[in-house]
Every structure is written in structure tokens, then in C-alpha cells.
């Protein structure tokens, strides 16, 4: 488990899985002797929030130590947005490149190749759609919600829109992006003829499983941390309107 007085260097050395998390908090390497807490403070990151996210990321069964509702919604939104950027700019393009390289050098039939490349192209498109829907609609809505809830006199017009669209609906329509990706690994491991470049093939499989894990964690933060918090803010605003 990562703790605040640990050396940040030691934390990352012992848990290299933390590396992709750092850019999402705008934390750069070159920690020197600084502790986790010091590095967080230096980068203006809420230490408790970082610890909760990092530990939940490292251990699926981790139970939050701090009440996650204590963190501002905007911090959660910022983290999620940075994660999206990581998926779109780094994870997916990197994987796409490797998959194409793997297919090009393989002796798969046209049909088998088509299965993989069509799958990936369509998956990528659905993924991008999902994220842009979230960034254009859901996240700005959440930030506005937090802003309004801090005001003494929230905008009545905004409150009235609450009666039309609430976060619960979003949670229900929330796609399961990771399940489908896992099928691609199964296809490669179980049904396709073996690839000659097994080294590259293992890299693709490792990347796939890393991304699936990351997506599960991401969905977990959205569903378990963000959605309940937002639902609570909505309730409070609606009640405010009712009592007036």
C-alpha cells in the first residue's frame, strides 16, 4: 500500500504500475528524496485523493480509507479527463500500431486479419464516441452542477434542467467498454493460428490486459465515486428549489 510518508521514488520502483497514473496528476519524474506527500504538494495535487486513486489502482479489493466525498468533484473530473487523454493519445494509438505490425508480419488469412483489424477500428470509434459524449456533455454538466451548488442562489433555470436529465440516467447508459476488448485477447489466445512474432504478440496481449484493467478502474471511479457524489449534489439542489 502507498502511504504519504513513503519515498515517492520507492513507491514507483516497487509498483511500476503507478507510472501511467503520474501524468494524469501532472506529476513528473525527478523526485529526489521527496516523499509522496511532498511530491503531491509540489504539484498541487490533493495528497489524500492521490493516495486513494493510487491504492485503488494497485489493489482491486482496496477499501477507501478517506471518505471520497470529501474531495471536490472538480478534482475527480480533472483526473478522469487526463485519463481520457492518456487513452486517446497514448494507449490506443500505441496498441493500434502494434496490432497492425503484428498483422502485417503474420501468415493469417485475409479473413482472419479482417476480423482483428475491423474489430479494433470499430472498437476505437466506439471508444472515441463514448469519450467525446462524456467530455462534451457529462463532465461540463457535472462541473456546472458543482459550481451552482456552491452558490448562495443557484440559477433556477439550471435547476429546472435537473428534472429532465440526471446523472443516474447517464450511469444506466454507461457503456461497458472493457468487456468487448477482452474478447480480442481471447480471440488471439484461443482461436487464431499462432503468430510468428510471438514477442510482439505478447506485447499486444500485455497492452490489452493493461488497458482492460485500467478501464475497469476508470469505470469504477466513475460509477463508485463520481456518480454517487453528483447524485447527491443534484438532490441537494432540487430540494433547495422545493423549499423555496
Amino acid at each position: 500500500m502507498i502511504k504519504k510518508n513513503m519515498s515517492m521514488c520507492q513507491a514507483v520502483l516497487e509498483h511500476h504500475q503507478l507510472l501511467p497514473l503520474l501524468p494524469r496528476f501532472n506529476i513528473e519524474l525527478g523526485f529526489g528524496e521527496r516523499s509522496v506527500e511532498e511530491v503531491c504538494r509540489l504539484n498541487r495535487v490533493n495528497t489524500d485523493f492521490f493516495l486513494e486513486i493510487a491504492n485503488a489502482y494497485l489493489n482491486e479489493d482496496y477499501i477507501p480509507q478517506t471518505d471520497l466525498s470529501l474531495f471536490p468533484v472538480s478534482a475527480v473530473v480533472e483526473y478522469l479527463t487526463c485519463t481520457h487523454t492518456y487513452y486517446i493519445d497514448i494507449a490506443l494509438p500505441g496498441m493500434e500500431q502494434k496490432i497492425h505490425r503484428l498483422l502485417d508480419g503474420s501468415s493469417l488469412s485475409e479473413k482472419e486479419r479482417g476480423l482483428v483489424s475491423d474489430f479494433f477500428n470499430d472498437y476505437k470509434k466506439e471508444f472515441m464516441d463514448h469519450i467525446s459524449r462524456e467530455e462534451q456533455r457529462v463532465l461540463p454538466y457535472i462541473l456546472e452542477l458543482e459550481k451552482q451548488s456552491l452558490k448562495k442562489e443557484p440559477d433556477r433555470e439550471f435547476i429546472s434542467t435537473l428534472q429532465e436529465y440526471t446523472i443516474t440516467e447517464y450511469a444506466q447508459e454507461h457503456d461497458r467498454l472493457e468487456n468487448s476488448l477482452e474478447n480480442l485477447s481471447k480471440l488471439i489466445i484461443k482461436y487464431l493460428p499462432p503468430f510468428e512474432d510471438f514477442d510482439l504478440c505478447y506485447q499486444v496481449l500485455t497492452d490489452l490486459s493493461d488497458l482492460v484493467r485500467d478501464l475497469i478502474d476508470h469505470a469504477h471511479i466513475e460509477d463508485k465515486v463520481l456518480v454517487p457524489r453528483v447524485a447527491e449534489l443534484e438532490q441537494r439542489l432540487i430540494q433547495k428549489l422545493d423549499t423555496e
Partner: protein, 206 residues
């Protein structure tokens, strides 16, 4: 899959961690939070909900305010007791009669797991009835035909259905699997043995 949430309020560190370890091994159960004192628990439950609360005898005794504020919580409370004969007194004893179930420290793994699983059953029975993520035989047939390249109209003709019904089936398939594209559906069908690679029709040729 939705997981049934448990909150643990147990003052003994060893017992608490033991209970956490047990719950984590039961599919469908998840530990939301653990508490070792009644104050933090009460504070937490004022703002958040839980499916079940597992609470030890000594904390239960001092949980008067908690149950005054939310009497319905009793029906979701599982009391953790030293042994079946130990009794609480007065008001706590009254409360004890209304709780959901008791777990005794003297009980073995099978008994405790059995009790927890019984609590979870109703949640997952509903899931099975709704068939939330599982395709019906009819839906599997339709997936097969879609992957073989048939159009909705052709599928309708083959199965003696209206096109409208086929479209409804396809919508249900999408919402069950969360897979929208034909390419995604094809890979799903292959890895779930609904179709073989040979049977799949491909725009890339055979």
C-alpha cells in the same frame, strides 16, 4: 455485475480483517468500508447507504442513535456475536430481535459463507430472471446469422419473424453485451462458441 455492499463495524482488528478476507472470497459481495468505532460509522451512515451492515456485539450495544435515526437498518444488520448463548440487555436486546441474522465467532467457514450467500441470493436471483447479460437461444441464433452476413430482412424470413421483431432482438443484444458493431459481435460470437471463424462471412473474402 452489481455487487452487494457490506459495511463492517467491528472493534477487534483481527476479527474485522478476517471478516473482510472472507467477504472478499464470496462472489458478488464487496466490502464498502470498515469501522472500528461507532461514531465514525454513525457519521458515515447519515450520508451514505449500504446493503448490509455487519456489526459486532459491543458496538451494537452502543448503537442506539444509529438505529433511532434509521430503524429500517435493523433488517439489514447482521450481528457478530461471541456465541449463541450470550445475551444483550434491555433496549439492545429488543433491537436484537429485529435484526436480519447472527454470525457467531465459533462458527466455521461453511456456516458463515452459507449465511452470507443466503443474503446475496435475492439480488442475484433477480439478475438471473432479468437475464441481464446472458443471451437467450433465440438471440444467439440471431447473432449467428448477423455474423454470417444476413440482413435483418433475411433473418426475419429465415426465422419466420417480422423485421421489427428482429430489430428488437438486436437492440436487446446490444444492451445485454454492450457491443454495437458487427465486428465486435463477430469476435464475441467466436470466443463464446456461437460461431466458428470458418462460418463467419467477411467482406475481406474467404
Amino acid at each position: 455485475m452489481r455487487r452487494v455492499q457490506f459495511i463492517l463495524a467491528i472493534d477487534s482488528y483481527l476479527v474485522r480483517k478476517g471478516m473482510v478476507a472472507m467477504l472478499q472470497r464470496i462472489p458478488g459481495a464487496s466490502v464498502l468500508r470498515e469501522f472500528e468505532s461507532i461514531d465514525l460509522l454513525t457519521h458515515y451512515l447519515q450520508r451514505h447507504g449500504t446493503d448490509f451492515l455487519i456489526i459486532c456485539d459491543s458496538l451494537f450495544l452502543s448503537a442506539t442513535d444509529l438505529y433511532l435515526a434509521d430503524p429500517a437498518l435493523l433488517e439489514r444488520t447482521i450481528l457478530l456475536k461471541q456465541d449463541p448463548s450470550s445475551k444483550n440487555h434491555g433496549e439492545a436486546e429488543n433491537r436484537r430481535n429485529k435484526i436480519r441474522d447472527c454470525i457467531y465467532l465459533s462458527e466455521g467457514k461453511e456456516e458463515i459463507t452459507g449465511k452470507i450467500s443466503e443474503l446475496l441470493n435475492p439480488y442475484f436471483r433477480n439478475h438471473r430472471e432479468d437475464n441481464l447479460f446472458v443471451l437467450t437461444e433465440r438471440e444467439k441464433t440471431i447473432v449467428r446469422l448477423v455474423c454470417m452476413g444476413f440482413t435483418n430482412r433475411q433473418i426475419a424470413e429465415k426465422l419466420f419473424l417480422s423485421t421489427h421483431t428482429v430489430i428488437t432482438h438486436r437492440k436487446n443484444i446490444i444492451s445485454k453485451l454492450g457491443i454495437k458493431s458487427v465486428s465486435g459481435l463477430t469476435v464475441y460470437a467466436i470466443v463464446n462458441n456461437i460461431i466458428t471463424i470458418d462460418e463467419v462471412t467477411s467482406k475481406h473474402g474467404q
